[in-house]
């Protein structure tokens, strides 16, 4: 088997706050093969974004700190890289798109400059070639009149257009890995679909592997080869997308899927919800973090932490009583 493009092993990221240590990411392992799209889903505060930021070491520190694990990118540990190696990787071989396009672009520079800047940093092109590349990228993310819009500032673009610019920046240096942290959450639904299709299409064209972070299972179903489900800082289930939707193993995944509104749900019926609240990540009780909300929980679940184990073909779940 070919070497994994990204191999995250036992990643642990904690936040050191006055209230205590928040264990936002605890013992998270996953991998992405070249060209594949991996979804990382979970509800707000489960550690998805922190995981994605930890990969490129973009967490604000303090208070955030990666306290353990390895992030192997083509065999090299990103966590061990020096500043120069890290800068060459970021935006070059591995790029990232963020959640809020309204604040992710610098308001005082034209967008052409902001794309060309990344190009110049990694591809060693001169100003003119970099600008041409910026035009090409704007064309490819389907921004009309690309050359004229080079000198426009971010505030002259809509949210969807700005996210396209972010995608243009991210893909401008042909990265092997694209990390998209809730790229469509801040956009309205019609624009979401456009941006997702665009991202999917370009990722295939550029042969870029994608780590797609989202809380939207619909997005996962439409774009991902495999899915990892996170809960309370840990991965609780990992499976190919079709398997996950057909045969979810973990009760949390089952509950998530049950909560998705369907077009065949009778009109006027109540939407399903998961009772209770996600746990406080500062003082986690021993045992399975989902146990307090789990309909199948037994005494063992409250005493022991279930490890992530293979439960079916290509399917892993952290549950003593799967399916």
């Amino acid at each position: 088997m070919a070497e994994k493009l990204l191999d995250v092993q036992h990643l642990r990221t904690h936040f050191f706050t006055r209230a205590g240590v928040v264990k936002a990411v605890e013992d998270v392992s996953f991998y992405i093969d070249e060209g594949e799209t991996l979804g990382l889903v979970g509800e707000s505060g489960c550690g998805k974004s922190v995981t994605s930021l930890s990969i490129l070491r973009l967490l604000e520190s303090p208070p955030g700190k990666i306290v353990g694990g390895k992030v192997l990118f083509q065999g090299e540990d990103i966590l061990e890289m020096n500043r120069e190696e890290l800068n060459a990787l970021r935006g070059g071989r591995a790029a990232m798109i963020f959640q809020d396009p309204m604040t992710s672009l610098n308001p005082v520079y034209p967008i052409g400059y902001q794309i060309a800047e990344a190009v110049k940093a990694h591809l060693k092109l001169d100003d003119k070639a970099a600008m041409n590349r910026a035009v090409e990228m704007l064309d490819r993310v389907r921004i009309p009149e690309a050359r004229r819009r080079l000198n426009h500032y971010p505030h002259e673009f809509s949210g969807g257009m700005r996210q396209r610019v972010m995608i243009a920046i991210a893909l401008s240096c042909n990265p092997q890995l694209l990390i998209a942290d809730e790229p469509t959450t801040a956009l309205d639904v019609t624009i979401q679909a456009q941006v997702l299709d665009l991202m999917k299409g370009l990722a295939q064209e550029f042969r870029t592997a994608t780590l797609l972070i989202t809380h939207d299972l619909g997005v996962v179903a439409g774009s991902c080869d495999r899915v990892n489900v996170m809960y309370a800082g840990r991965i609780v289930e990992a499976a190919p997308t079709t398997t996950l939707f057909a045969k979810p193993a973990h009760p949390y995944t089952q509950a998530l899927l049950a909560a998705v509104p369907r077009s065949d749900t009778p009109k006027g019926s109540r939407l399903a919800a998961i009772g209770g609240q996600p746990p406080n990540l500062i003082n986690l009780a021993p045992g399975c973090p989902f146990a307090p909300r789990c309909p199948k929980a037994q005494a063992r679940c409250r005493a022991e932490l279930p490890p992530l184990e293979t439960v079916g073909p290509n399917q892993q779940a952290a549950c003593f009583y799967p399916y």
């Binding site: 490129l56 973009l58 060459a88 610098n106 005082v108």
Partner: protein, 339 residues
């Protein structure tokens, strides 16, 4: 030729204003400029009216100042006529306003042979030198220091910079000046090199006043730059810049500082206005022949033409400083232009 050299400061002043206006029109737009200039004219008119009214109704006049109230009747009449004080309120006001537009403020009440403009051209440059070098120094040192303190937030450097700027900010110049004197006098007595502690006639006399005047503004700029940088460094676009793999130097200066500068710029105008009061105290304590001290004397002597001219001058200065701030703001922030 002689007339040219006499009017040179005025000509330079006008050229500077024209330059600022042209630059504003090109960079930020003609409509913006017209709006601001109209506002400026209104402010100046208001200030001139108030100063005139104060001068008109305040007790004492040119005659009392000239001869302590013991002048012969004929001399009183001639003096009143000379200063136009024998006219009615509106006539006097019209006279004052039409002359002020031509930058002519008449003659001093103390001495009818001395033009107010001559007094201004003698004393204003000294104050301007002190004020401008102080503020420029404060910006040149304070802004980079504040930036560095923000980048190194919560380290020993940051704590020292913050504490020092807080102390300087809290200490008024009339507390700092005796300390300065104490140090210089002790240095002098110990036979070590020291700087002059009074006057304005040599470079070593200028160092103390400029440093002490700049101290407050310096502390102000350290604090505002630090606060502004800290806020900007948390922004998403700074993270984007890092995610592009840009060098930290580029992230800080190009992406963060450029945005932080917008906040710093908005504070420069008010700071300059605030600085005017500071100049007065420094001039007084260091015995510097500036317009601040002179206008204080003029108030005591009821030399109203000088007071009126000084107040107007300060108003022009502050209004221009604010206009410049807005222009700079328009240049630094592209969002202003299209709004």
């Amino acid at each position: 030729m002689d007339q040219l050299s006499q009017n040179l400061p005025g000509i330079i002043f006008l050229l500077v204003i024209v330059g600022i206006c042209a630059f504003t029109a090109i960079r930020v737009g003609v409509r913006f400029l017209i709006r601001r200039l109209a506002g400026l004219v209104f402010v100046l008119w208001g200030v001139s009216f108030i100063t005139f009214v104060l001068g008109y109704f305040a007790p004492g006049n040119a005659v009392l100042v000239n001869c302590n109230g013991h002048c012969p009747r004929a001399q009183v009449a001639s003096l009143m006529h000379f200063y136009g004080l024998d006219q009615g309120f509106w006539q006097q006001y019209w006279h004052f306003l039409s002359n002020a537009v031509r930058l002519d403020f008449g003659y001093s009440y103390i001495d009818r042979t001395v033009r107010v403009n001559d007094i201004l051209s003698r004393y204003v440059p000294v104050s301007a030198q002190l004020g401008i070098s102080g503020v420029v120094l404060a910006v040149l040192v304070g802004v980079p220091l504040g930036l560095y303190a923000a980048v190194k937030a919560n380290t020993a450097f940051d704590t020292v910079a913050q504490t020092a700027s807080l102390v300087l900010f809290a200490l008024p110049s009339f507390v700092l000046i005796p300390f300065y004197w104490l140090i210089m006098i002790n240095l002098h007595n110990a036979g070590l090199p020291s700087l002059a502690v009074t006057g304005w006639d040599s470079w070593d006399a200028m160092v103390g006043p400029i440093l002490i005047f700049g101290a407050g503004a310096f502390a102000f700029f350290v604090r505002i730059t630090r606060a502004s940088m800290l806020e900007v460094l948390r922004q998403d676009y700074v993270r984007t810049a890092r995610a592009k793999g840009l060098q930290e130097r580029v992230v800080i200066w190009k992406h963060a500082f450029r945005n932080a500068l917008i906040n710093v710029l908005t504070a420069v105008g008010p700071a300059l206005g605030f600085a005017v009061g500071g100049v007065f105290i420094i001039e007084l304590l260091f015995n510097i022949p500036g317009i601040g001290v002179y206008s204080l004397t003029a108030i005591e002597n009821r030399d109203y033409p000088v007071v009126q001219a000084t107040v107007l001058l300060i108003a022009v200065f502050i209004a221009l400083a604010n206009l410049l701030t807005d222009v700079a703001y328009g240049i630094a922030d592209p969002r202003i232009k299209t709004q």
